[in-house]
């Protein structure tokens, strides 16, 4: 058992400005709730700090010239398990719908993927659009979502040789993960669809519509609808719970 609440394992001073709060080393939706709750408490404790998370860590960045050892002591006291208080894990979540066109013309790996998985297009669409995916965090590239919830039947090893160029908006599967390429980049995932939406755009008031803890649903659209939405270039996202 950890001596801290919320499954915190340890506090690590990475440099003069950043403390990493380390959680149990396991990808799990329950841990994300703990992580987001801790992030919220840290923000209340240190309003001048900035914090963000990955699967099992919260980074807390302080302004220059702070005594981080002292901050770590404050954190240790705050999350001391002996306080044994009720853990509140209510999180405001929103579900954002992402339209995806599953069509070989837009998704170069689609047919090969179906062949290798011995699956029909309808089955793939059904399996990929059914789950409500959880946004664990955004990392790797600006706007890239780390999503949890892919159906096991769609697990597929990454390509042995990455493609040199994957278009922005491409939706792919790589081993146990699915995700959307926010901009043109090389990549080793199998591209099975494409969204007409831009999921990272600094010209929008919010460059990414997502934050850690949000939920995502993929919705299958026709190629006609894809083309129409590309032309409109509207950047409003449907939120399913509004």
């Amino acid at each position: 058992m950890s001596k801290y609440n919320y499954q915190i394992q340890d506090f690590f001073k990475l440099n003069e400005q950043l403390v990493i709060i380390q959680f149990k080393n396991e990808i799990n939706p329950i841990h994300l709730k703990h992580i987001l709750q801790v992030k919220k408490i840290v923000q209340q404790l240190f309003p001048a700090s900035y914090s963000y998370n990955t699967y099992t860590e919260v980074g807390v960045q302080f302004p220059y010239f702070e005594d981080l050892e002292e901050k770590i002591e404050v954190l240790k006291r705050e999350f001391n398990a002996e306080k044994n208080e009720e853990l509140t894990l209510e999180l405001p979540t929103k579900t954002i719908e992402i339209p995806v066109c599953y069509n070989q013309d837009l998704a170069p790996d689609l047919n090969l993927f179906l062949q290798q998985k011995k699956m029909s297009l309808e089955q793939l669409i059904q399996l990929h659009t059914a789950p409500t995916y959880l946004v664990y965090f955004i990392g790797f590239l600006p706007g890239f979502l780390y999503l949890g919830g892919l159906d096991k039947q769609l697990y597929h090893p990454r390509k042995s040789t990455p493609s040199p160029r994957i278009e922005a908006g491409s939706v792919g599967i790589g081993y146990q993960q699915t995700g959307i390429y926010p901009q043109v980049s090389p990549g080793g995932w199998h591209i099975i669809g494409k969204t007409p939406k831009s999921i990272f755009d600094v010209h929008q008031p919010k460059a990414s519509p997502f934050q850690a803890g949000d939920q995502l649903k993929f919705k299958s659209i026709s190629i006609e609808s894809y083309k129409q939405q590309i032309n409109n270039k509207s950047n409003t996202f449907s939120k399913l719970d509004e």
């Binding site: 990808i27 699967y55 980074g59 926010p182 990272f200």
Partner: protein, 287 residues
């Protein structure tokens, strides 16, 4: 009309500042100057705040024509600096007059130099910083024929020190020893490898850029991927093929390779000036 016309952009010249600190939650790297010491020095010598943007210049520098007077400073370890045909000293402020051409054809020591101009460059901040990084900014480097706008279009000659300079304390850039501390995944290393790591001479590898610097050695070690977690400039990753990569300013905000060591900013400043093939050694910090 722009303040400065870019006649030649140079090989890799980019606007940088102290970086985009609070956008890791959207996957945005910190970016900003690789060698903070010299960038801050350039700004200080032209009486700017250290937060002002500078031009970071690598390999072969730009040729810039000034359309009004300006007080400038180029800082770094060593470079050829010409104002029209006249040679100028590095780490010294000097006045550029209207119509003058400043050219920086060669970096003679280290990898990068910094150009600061009194009053600063007029650039739109994107997500809190002017640091060039695609797709946050439109381009990742300065382009030929681009117009550069300055915040101040005149010099208050009577109020400024027009020849500010310091005898620069950059002796530590000559040392081959870089101070490191244990990284979050240090325990991943075996005791034996831990010792080897601190007794090995590394060479700066070819795969080195603003994202990361590769340290090559004869050490034989394998690693595996871990759960994707926080990475920051300074983290030293051990890749599955056994290479060490020091993450630099444009590095990804998350990664799955063990973060075995961490370099301080002071060590990153020095490392950013080490050339391909140069040798370094890692020493564990005492505090």
């Amino acid at each position: 009309m722009s303040s400065i016309a870019v006649i030649k952009a140079g090989m890799y010249t980019s606007f940088q500042d102290l970086g985009r600190r609070n956008y890791a939650h959207w996957g945005c790297p910190v970016s900003g100057v690789m060698d903070e010491y010299h960038a801050k020095l350039a700004n200080t010598l032209v009486q700017n705040s250290v937060e002002e943007a500078v031009l970071e210049i690598s390999l072969q520098g730009p040729t810039l024509k000034f359309n009004h007077d300006a007080l400038v400073c180029v800082s770094g370890l060593g470079a050829d600096i010409f104002l029209n045909q006249q040679s100028k000293k590095i780490n010294h402020a000097f006045v550029v007059q209207k119509g003058n051409v400043l050219s920086l054809p060669k970096i003679s020591q280290g990898n990068r130099i910094y150009l600061a101009i009194h009053g600063g460059f007029k650039r739109k901040k994107k997500l809190g910083s002017v640091a060039q990084f695609q797709p946050i900014t439109e381009n990742f480097k300065l382009k030929k024929n681009e117009g550069i706008q300055l915040k101040k279009t005149t010099i208050e000659y009577s109020k400024l020190d027009l020849n500010a300079h310091v005898s620069v304390e950059n002796e530590h850039y000559k040392s081959q020893y870089l101070e490191v501390r244990k990284g979050p995944d240090f325990n991943y290393l075996s005791k034996k490898f831990e010792e080897q790591l601190l007794n090995t001479t590394f060479k700066i590898g070819k795969q080195s850029n603003r994202m990361g610097i590769e340290l090559l050695s004869e050490l034989e070690v394998k690693s595996t991927s871990l759960i994707t977690n926080i990475t920051q400039p300074g983290c030293v990753q051990l890749t599955p093929s056994g290479k060490l990569i020091v993450l630099m300013k444009d590095a990804q905000v998350s990664g799955g390779y063990p973060r075995v060591l961490v370099l301080s900013q002071r060590s990153l400043d020095v490392l950013s000036q080490k050339k391909l093939g140069e040798e370094i050694q890692l020493v564990m910090s005492k505090n």
